[in-house]
Subunit: 250 residues, 6 copies
Amino acid sequence: MKAISLTEMTWQEFARGLPHTIIALCVGSLEQHGPHLPLSVDSLIPYNLCLKLGERERLFVAPPFFYGYRSSPFTGGGQSFPGTTSLSGQTLTALLRDVLQDFIRQGCYRFLIMNGHFENTPFISEAAHLVTAVNTKVKVVIVNWWDLLSPATLDRLFPEGFPGWEVEHASLVETSLVMHFRPDLVHAELIPEQKGEKHKPRPLVFPEPAGLVPESGILYTATGASPEKGAAIAGEILTQLQKIVADELA
Amino acid sequence: MKAISLTEMTWQEFARGLPHTIIALCVGSLEQHGPHLPLSVDSLIPYNLCLKLGERERLFVAPPFFYGYRSSPFTGGGQSFPGTTSLSGQTLTALLRDVLQDFIRQGCYRFLIMNGHFENTPFISEAAHLVTAVNTKVKVVIVNWWDLLSPATLDRLFPEGFPGWEVEHASLVETSLVMHFRPDLVHAELIPEQKGEKHKPRPLVFPEPAGLVPESGILYTATGASPEKGAAIAGEILTQLQKIVADELA
Amino acid sequence: MKAISLTEMTWQEFARGLPHTIIALCVGSLEQHGPHLPLSVDSLIPYNLCLKLGERERLFVAPPFFYGYRSSPFTGGGQSFPGTTSLSGQTLTALLRDVLQDFIRQGCYRFLIMNGHFENTPFISEAAHLVTAVNTKVKVVIVNWWDLLSPATLDRLFPEGFPGWEVEHASLVETSLVMHFRPDLVHAELIPEQKGEKHKPRPLVFPEPAGLVPESGILYTATGASPEKGAAIAGEILTQLQKIVADELA
Amino acid sequence: MKAISLTEMTWQEFARGLPHTIIALCVGSLEQHGPHLPLSVDSLIPYNLCLKLGERERLFVAPPFFYGYRSSPFTGGGQSFPGTTSLSGQTLTALLRDVLQDFIRQGCYRFLIMNGHFENTPFISEAAHLVTAVNTKVKVVIVNWWDLLSPATLDRLFPEGFPGWEVEHASLVETSLVMHFRPDLVHAELIPEQKGEKHKPRPLVFPEPAGLVPESGILYTATGASPEKGAAIAGEILTQLQKIVADELA
Amino acid sequence: MKAISLTEMTWQEFARGLPHTIIALCVGSLEQHGPHLPLSVDSLIPYNLCLKLGERERLFVAPPFFYGYRSSPFTGGGQSFPGTTSLSGQTLTALLRDVLQDFIRQGCYRFLIMNGHFENTPFISEAAHLVTAVNTKVKVVIVNWWDLLSPATLDRLFPEGFPGWEVEHASLVETSLVMHFRPDLVHAELIPEQKGEKHKPRPLVFPEPAGLVPESGILYTATGASPEKGAAIAGEILTQLQKIVADELA
Amino acid sequence: MKAISLTEMTWQEFARGLPHTIIALCVGSLEQHGPHLPLSVDSLIPYNLCLKLGERERLFVAPPFFYGYRSSPFTGGGQSFPGTTSLSGQTLTALLRDVLQDFIRQGCYRFLIMNGHFENTPFISEAAHLVTAVNTKVKVVIVNWWDLLSPATLDRLFPEGFPGWEVEHASLVETSLVMHFRPDLVHAELIPEQKGEKHKPRPLVFPEPAGLVPESGILYTATGASPEKGAAIAGEILTQLQKIVADELA
């Protein structure tokens, strides 16, 4: 069996793979995901996708980053739900920059950062910029997994019309993926009958006003989620990831 | 005549308005905007919108922030065009936090931050979070002006279908607005016949690959821009801004 | 079944436990641990100890911190082995401070930080200082698990004399604990016949000189490790931890 | 007509001038300047001087920095007047360093920083030091415009004896220069009959004691200011600036 | 004998004096001071002045800060002389802020900061601002010792006209003071026959141009220095310091 | 007589020694040391050891760092005694990094850092790491002086068994060394009859609990200290230091 995850690997296994490997970094958040999903959804999905990808590509998966940037009420439920525990942007950037730099010191130059939490993107990008600006050998590709689903797939999943990724929080796609990867962690019986609003742009207000997010923490709806849908979604994402690896990190 | 802009106001005029005023902060970028628009489009539009708003509402407009966060090739042309001159995220956040804090010290508690550069949003939000987290009197509303146009307006402006705000860089809407506010700064004769691709999500790659952006720097197309369209767009935005002021900052 | 780990818990389970719970934070490192143990030993041991403790006490276990401070050649093998991937002290402190602060914001005031990597201690302490200096409600207890074994136990484990915790890296105690908690991750057949030197103080030299650490990465010896010893060690540590919880965090 | 100001220039105009241009950065403050002058005097004067210089030399003028370091009661009126809105030293340095660095990335190596606010000088110098210490191609010249007037001119302007630059705040020289550059922004009718003390060194006391600054905010006197004097002063400064450009930045 | 210096005091002596004492902090630099004076002149003078002041006032003298901000060629000889070893502005501010804060934690609220190095002033001020902005009980007075000499004294010391404090580096006043306080550290026989230029404002150029400073490192002249002059100068400064203590820190 | 201390040296003496010298940096703390020793013990001992070493080796002793990291109740008495005045870890690291970097700029590449305060070690190491990671010419050796005493010496000094260095605070060894180097600063008559506990590991608790440290501030006992013992201890340390210089810094 191939060693894929750095947490389970000895230093000698790592050393043997080092010259020709890509390092995958998975960045999530500790954030409410409705009454039916665990707080770690945003790292769980990227980490499982990368482990699967590691079965197909030369790729080592680094230990996941469980904590991410503060949740926005428009895309993740905001900071007011108990359990949502977040980093400042500066700390998230410093954390990723340090880890990237220390892998680079060891001779790793190709990185795939798989992000599972919308709000992280700019702070991950800042870290990627900082390390590539000073070392031309390094290449970093940042992927938000939801960007890899095709419009055709979204049409199939949402016959009534796709509500927008911003409200797909703890909703059909995430629920299906967790049902696929970790069915033991889904409390399907607690999924409420509810349908939130579709996404529309709104001004950002600080401090966060009350009442922006449905009480359950699900932004749109998880009704209709299934492990089969999760498997299909994961399959399409993995195919796209293989293409990205071939195009950008070969 | 009412004093609106802090750059043109004496301290006594400011002091008289202080107890009942909103402070508007305009954040832009120094960034390529095609062969026909100046580098300062992203601060010019918010600043002119706020000056107009100041004619209708009790509002003081602070000096504009001309420098913003690094440009992404998917939403602004990237950092490779000469003239695009940017701040790190940490510096942009520190700059806004310092200015907000020093207005708060003087007894200003209500802020409207008008943003003209997509990539700034998270770093502005971080500053807004930092100052509101330690002072419950303070309220900060952040508006990206393009979020205020209705789908109906976009349908009217783009009969062939709206390409997405990400590619509306140096394109029809921005060009029309500059034609409306500062016609002297538009080189209409240099607008190329071109039409870029519509927005589709792509992985972020660092360092920035060549060839992602059309040579002109216009992401979609500026053909069809006009001062009349600019006036109509500005009018709709101002109506929406008045509503936001009434709802959130009264 | 009781939910103990925040990664597996919904926000509602967390909310119900919040008023009377202690938060356990486990801090490790990604660091070589000989040819027979995985890179994550230093987070694996604290995390499993805390999960066990959570079966006995009201305690929620936060997601582990897999990355720690740079490894010293005198206590962990140094930074020269492939796979050892570390943070700066400033980043580690910022990371822990951010997480502590955001739990405090939610009303959590009692923290048990279980450390598995010697070099982390001062940077964890700095974070604990920073959050307790500004909020008198907060109490943070930091435990290095190895400090909880009694001299009597060490005498039993090391009939030839205890060599000192500094060289107990990837050696008998750590190996036994991983054999107990995660036997699937131990390559017992790769444990070399070797015995390193006992600890003696030496000047710290930068850059790290070559040759300070045995080639295997084991500082003393792993010979004689067994799951039974691991169970006994874990048992004594858990008893001590319960006492600390009762004395300091009740 | 030559494009001089980056805010009004397209990226192609900038690109054409890039190989042989100097970048001028104007740093001011948002600070009380008496009942008769606007809050932006300290950026207005440097910016207008640089635009004039740009008519004579190959020089591009970057967008002004409107916010500067905290005002001292001995040289600018202190922080207690409404409207005076300032940055910390660390932020001002970071802001200038970022902007310098990003111009350097584009191949600009010669910079003229024109300062209009006494208290900024050390924080500007720190930024200049940071970028020149790591790149030997770069040269930065920092000019406080008031240092360019000759003793002979000062004798002419102040027949009763020059009171010292520290108290020349909102006083004769600044008022005359604004009368010259932007007469529309001067409320000459509000200039009080007053004459402050000449400068003498005093200990710096924190927090700022009350009563150090005349109520008007004028440190010495603005009586006698005229646009003609402003034109003469600007003329002498420009001559000196041309000499500095020739000597240091050719 | 009264204990005055914290370096020589036990904690109990400190504790007894704490309720009614002023803490004096002496900030200098490690900087060339000509062929005849030691590198520590800028801390030596403030420290000895404060010890003397401590014989007259209730005042504890904290250990000196030997390292200061970078030397400017116009006021201290610049960074190019061997031995001149300096801090960044940010570090100097952090150092003083930490020390002030930790004295404040112990109940010390009145501070006299005696500065011996011109370039330090803004970075000391920033620290003083930071601690007084968050605690209204605290008062910090910053004194540059040279500001305490009267014009009459300067006339007496410089019959040919005072050249300006900026060039009084390693020159008559500093040399006389070291002759007074530490005659054993003065190599009077190495004082060159030289007379530098009087101070005139010049643009700051980075990197520092060669040739701005006389080869000896003395900016004006040390000829004529004597211990008697040093005693008279110290006497006048001490009288002024007593007045400042009475006026500002009683 | 040889110039050894930079505080007493001219720039020309420094310049002559520069090509072949080691720079010694002494880092201490301002911290309670019982009723009989001054607050500066932790810098006094390293500084005197280095001056002695400088009589035997080519070595320049830089001005001491009097302020160190926060005192822990288990190794230094904690922060609760009046007089203990400390830096944050980040500031201590920044301070040392700045000083090391500025000596490196002058061509000094070999450093001996002599530490006198246990809690400083990791923050000194971080600074040493930072400067050596970017310049392969630089070598930094960090010595805690107490690590240089042999077990045989400790047996001789402590016939009843060595209690552990952690509790050797203000106790026999430190007292003897100060009696040797600065007998004028020891109040031998105030040494209490007391014997503290031997060191045993304990969890670190924040905020610091009361009652962990004996009221005197002496962690074990100072009874039996003598200048003769101090001379013998200093002698052994110096011999070991010469060996370290020969082995690591020649």
